[in-house]
């Protein structure tokens, strides 16, 4: 698994629950080191060990931890760069939803060896969509729910999101877009601020 993904999980746990919690979780996961390096590649099993150790240490369901991770990826100030890259996906939440299918290509533009789940969007009409997500990790759909919820806030859209289980090895997320301009949303300028 790419270090960037592992590092994101580490930063989520550290920024949300503190250094001591991260130390305890990395210890329980048996990492044998303190920090993932974002540009190195790690054994896939390690990611699973960290997620399981986090759920155990925090005494929270795995799904909740993963959903919070998804929200963190978009909403934490430390990851503003990632939020901006996702916002390039479109000028509205609907545009963004469609751009999820391009995420693997967009990811590989920057890091050719980055694994990004495959997303397939099905439009069911009347603002209802199904998003099928390939299982990069078990529970990837919960990360997606958290991420979409934060992105909807970012765009100011009102959505109802639900994890719909697993179908043929892909996790299903149902998206019901009730209002694409429900709230103000956060600003997005094409040019990087202060660059």
């Amino acid at each position: 698994m790419h270090g960037l993904i592992n590092r994101s999980i580490q930063c989520f746990l550290r920024d949300t629950y503190g250094n001591a919690s991260w130390s305890a979780i990395s210890g329980a996961a048996g990492l044998g080191f303190d920090n993932f390096e974002p540009l190195l590649i790690y054994d896939t099993g390690l990611t699973e060990q960290v997620i399981a150790a986090a759920a155990g240490y925090l005494q929270r369901p795995r799904e909740t931890v993963l959903e919070d991770l998804g929200t963190y990826l978009v909403s934490h100030p430390n990851l503003e760069a990632l939020r901006r890259l996702l916002r390039f996906g479109g000028v509205s939440f609907l545009d963004f939803l469609h751009s999820m299918e391009d995420l693997p290509e967009h990811g590989r533009l920057g890091l050719p060896d980055l694994e990004v789940p495959d997303f397939t969007l099905t439009d069911q009409g009347e603002g209802r969509f199904l998003l099928h997500v390939s299982q990069l990790i078990d529970g990837v759909g919960h990360v997606t729910v958290g991420l979409l919820r934060a992105m909807a806030d970012d765009y100011g859209a009102l959505v109802v999101l639900e994890h719909g289980g697993v179908e043929a090895g892909r996790e299903v997320v149902s998206v019901h877009l009730l209002d694409h301009a429900y709230a103000e949303g956060r600003r997005f300028e094409l040019a990087m601020p202060g660059g």
Binding site: L4, E37, P38, L39, A81, L82, R84, L85, F88, G90, V91, H106, L109, G110, L111, E189, L190, A191, M192, G195
Partner: protein, 314 residues
């Protein structure tokens, strides 16, 4: 971004993004070359010049603003020209300066993808820079550890092997002191290794305190130390420092309420005795002087004997 020109060179249509950049009153009906200047190819001052350059890559400036474009002019059926312009490499500045959005670019334009790529590149570069800083820090730490004796914090044998030739290379006279602890083995044997380790740490502390910060103190063996004293070649002064060190080390060291008693024997030599100075020989001579001290009853310092000369009287 397009501009349509009449056969007479006046603007008769302009794309919304270009109109936004011009900012002032509508340029429709104004001569193109009054609003824009063609920088390359040089010498385009009339509609005829421009027409003659149809199909050639143009570099166009917006007069009175910093904006530059590259583009192409193609003839139209009515004798006019249609210009297609783009920002080229100045895209990012233009987007920032004019607060352009997705909607300001044609659906076919790759401008937004280019902006995306620039940010991706920036994000990856930032991570690479951080990684390099961490690696640099780790390397510095590793080097520091590799030259340091972990028990005492003094330099180790490797550090001495680097420092001694470096000192000789500087051409500065220096004194060399080889110190071996007396009765250390007894402390280790009767009071245990923990006491031995404590003694070694106390000895290290004493050596650092009894020498100057510019001196180099190294632990080169179990209970052997070497001190290099740059700029010190006076035998009497060196003998005095050696004596002070021995006196200090003869003070009992407390270990859990029990007194560890040691002493030290020292062999001394000075770089000016050698022409040219040779690190290996100096260490051997100091070692020989050290064993002369041991044989003479321990707890003392002797100089390397140079062919019958008495250094102290010289």
């Amino acid at each position: 971004m397009h501009i349509g020109l009449t056969a007479g060179g006046k603007i008769n249509s302009i794309g919304p993004t270009l109109a936004k950049l011009i900012e002032g009153p509508s340029p429709i009906g104004v001569a193109f070359l009054k609003v824009f200047a063609v920088r390359r190819p040089a010498g385009i001052t009339s509609m005829e010049d421009l027409r003659a350059r149809a199909g050639v890559r143009l570099h166009v400036d917006l007069r009175g603003k910093g904006d530059t474009f590259r583009g192409l002019a193609v003839p139209t059926a009515d004798g006019g020209l249609l210009l297609n312009l783009s920002f080229g490499i100045r895209l990012i500045d233009a987007v920032r300066q004019h607060s352009l959005t997705d909607a300001d670019f044609a659906a076919t334009d790759m401008a937004v993808e280019m902006l995306y790529l620039v940010e991706v590149k920036q994000a990856v570069m930032t991570e690479l820079r951080r990684l390099n800083l961490r690696l640099q820090g780790a390397k510095a730490t590793a080097e520091e550890q590799a030259l340091t004796d972990t028990l005492t914090g003094l330099r180790n044998r490797r550090a001495l092997d680097v420092a001694l030739p470096a000192l000789i290379g500087q051409g500065l006279a220096f004194g060399l002191m080889h110190i071996d602890l007396d009765y250390f083995k007894q402390v280790n044997d009767t009071m245990g290794h923990a006491a031995g380790d404590l003694v070694l740490r106390e000895v290290a502390k004493a050596l650092v305190e009894e020498t100057r910060t510019s001196d180099i103190v190294a632990r080169v063996g179990g209970d052997e130390f070497v001190v290099l004293l740059p700029g010190l070649s006076d035998p009497a002064r060196l003998q005095q420092i050696a004596r002070r060190i021995i006196d200090r080390l003869m003070q009992p060291i407390d270990f859990d309420g029990r007194a560890c008693r040691i002493s030290a024997s020292i062999g001394l030599t000075i770089s000016t005795l050698y022409d040219p100075p040779d690190g290996e020989r100096m260490l051997n001579d100091a070692d020989a002087a050290l064993y002369a001290s041991k044989r003479a009853g321990r707890g003392q310092a002797q100089f390397h004997a140079t062919k019958g000369d008495d250094l102290l009287s010289a």
